[in-house]
Symmetry: C2
């Protein structure tokens, strides 16, 4: 799926005002037209064609097969939907695009274009790239991030890690997504980590941000977010596919927090080859619609399975024009090493977050020193990089 | 994955008190041990083995490979986890079992056994099979259900459908998962449908239940549930994988509503062959932990891709013993016809819900008559079927 395809689709949409979804069909070429028609009905009226007799429903409710093309041995169907069907709800958009056909065999959602009128229904990132640069004061280079891990560390060791990373010049330290606590323990831990980061920032004249992982029993998320907000913390780590893409992001958005999204459970959706949702559409477009400012994903070359093309798709979807919705930051992670830093810098560019986990801890150096080394090397690739005083230093208390 | 496997696992657990997860590994037999160790670390400490130096973390936090066996050309790894890692949160359990390794290639979660101490953290169905039988008064046979569809029907035609199904002797009429409205429109529609069903019940001495689809913008779910509860409606249709398994089910549970779960988006999680989560574990065990009373899934033989073995897995997981958690009802759907009713009755048995959509509307008969025909045929397969006065007739007002 190249840019050309996306371009073709966008042009068409401007004339129609409809949602356009593209599906790759793993079927015989002779069966593609019929499968495309089945998808168009499945996702809207959920009845066989013969049973949709009302002309108004056929016209206004049923999906419409715009075209089915053959290329490179596979079929691509472009189907348009009436945007009113999703009632300006992100969850209903997911159901409309992929709810039932996710269970079909050999149908993959490969592209989506939404009309402007519908795009305006979704919050998108509250901060986005520009907002994150303001919050962190980092300009002209990728932000350097790491995770507090492994789970099981004592609080003293967690805070020591956070402080060392901040002293070393790291930009964002986030909780591991395995860190979860009841509310009292969460409060103790998060306050201590934020305090450690604040003190290290003051001592080293740094600007490191701390993003705790918000993971709460259902119904208690609000209390967790309120506490985080009350401490003056700027952002959170969330697992949108575990908690519900709309549910958790909307809540964080409402509390004015930067959303860093973790891809936990996404592997199922991304599927193998013929099924699932395109990497860029899921972790790029859809996460961004929900309000994600920073989208974490496993970079190619590490211990996960994403290819350079898949990673490039996520990177591009996060930053491409999308109505009034702000661009967001790709955060490649998973086995990123000093050795491949030059490649990674070229591939992801300045508007990204480099999430380095094991490689910072594996070095023979202590965390502060290895952070400083990574920061220097990173800066070396971006000669125009500069640090300004971040907005986070002014407008809200940073000390618990 | 047969019963034998489950049995072996359960026995082991009783001696350990740990979570046991089984993964099918699509790799060379010689690589299976190493992959199993990587999974055990990935899901817990997220660091390479060499970097986990603290003996307490190695012992208490890192996952433990219990065994790796080869059979039938594939490898199966059984890995145990410390139950404290999920902090009695369903979302964290999902992250622990499958969060990151969902993104590995060739790793499928095929079984899960939870210790009693952890099972007690999850609500499970508030009603379950026995509760649904009380609510509906239907004993000794599957419940007959249908959906109000297609989307786009006028309110008058929706209510006429609901009334016809109730007069014909149907047991549950639910909204289509494509039906979504803002709160005022939702109120109008749901009140009208419930009124139509109530009046039809009174006239025909019937006991049909109506379950509206709750689909709300994030943060408004509570208002929707409150309204439904206030009308005296007994249950709702939800899409847990769209809204967040824990989030939406917990809310419905708290409002005392029967939860009928729709599998929208599940195809992503179920993956293709070598990846994803086993059908029975996802739509059976995990949905049931979250509080699902009735789990809808596409039956074999219809327009979807589930095999008889996969459908049987869901059926069995919903009804098997699971600590103190109530058994739930499988609701096969998707292309169920009069012609295959005998097979379906044998396969799913009395403790199920038959969700018949198109087949009821496709017949040359009107909906009331075709519903009566299906009910009679269904009853014919279960000679001990009987209708009692349902609990729903007593304890709360049914008329809006």
């Amino acid at each position: 799926m190249g840019k050309q395809t996306g371009g073709m689709i966008r042009e068409k949409l401007q004339t129609s005002g409809r949602i356009l979804a593209e599906y790759r069909l793993d079927c015989l070429p002779t069966e593609a037209e019929a499968l495309a028609r089945r998808i168009a009905l499945e996702q809207t009226v959920e009845l066989p064609e013969a049973q949709v007799t009302d002309p108004r429903i056929r016209e206004q409710v049923a999906g419409r097969v715009e075209e089915v093309i053959q290329s490179g041995g596979c079929s691509t169907a472009r189907i348009s939907y009436n945007p009113e069907l999703c009632e300006r709800q992100l969850s209903q958009l997911l159901i409309l695009l992929f709810g039932n056909v996710s269970i079909y065999r050999g149908v993959k959602l490969t592209d989506v274009q939404l009309p402007e009128g519908l795009l305006s229904a979704f919050p998108g990132p509250a901060f986005g790239i520009a907002g994150l640069r303001e919050q962190s004061g980092v300009h002209g280079r990728p932000l350097l991030a790491t995770a507090i891990k492994p789970r099981g560390l004592s609080l003293a060791r967690m805070t020591a890690m956070a402080a060392a990373f901040a002293r070393g010049g790291g930009d964002i330290i986030k909780d591991d997504q395995n860190l979860a606590d009841d509310l009292p323990a969460f409060k103790t831990r998060v306050a201590a980590c934020q305090k450690a980061v604040t003190e290290a920032n003051l001592r080293a004249d740094g600007h490191c941000l701390y993003f705790p992982h918000v993971s709460a029993p259902a119904g208690q998320l609000e209390d967790y977010f309120k506490y985080v907000q009350g401490l003056g913390i700027r952002g959170v780590l969330l697992c949108p596919l575990v908690y519900g893409l709309d549910a958790i992001c909307t809540l964080a958005h409402r509390h004015g927090l930067v959303i860093m999204a973790h891809p936990a459970l996404s592997g199922g959706f991304l599927g193998a080859g013929a099924q699932g949702i395109d990497h860029g559409i899921l972790l790029g477009t859809l996460f961004r619609l929900a309000g994600t400012d920073i989208s974490i994903f496993p970079s190619f070359g590490g211990r996960f399975s994403f290819s350079p093309a898949e990673c490039g798709g996520i990177r591009d979807r996060l930053r491409e024009p999308l109505g009034e919705i702000r661009p967001a930051l790709p955060a490649p992670a998973g086995g990123m090493q000093l050795e491949n830093l030059p490649d990674l810098c070229r591939f992801y560019g300045a508007d990204s977050v480099f999430l380095i986990g094991g490689a910072l801890q594996a070095a023979d150096l202590d965390l502060e020193t290895s952070t400083r080394l990574f920061r220097e090397r990173l800066g070396g690739h971006f000669p125009e990089a500069r640090q300004e005083t971040p907005a986070s230093a002014f407008d809200r208390p940073l000390s618990p």
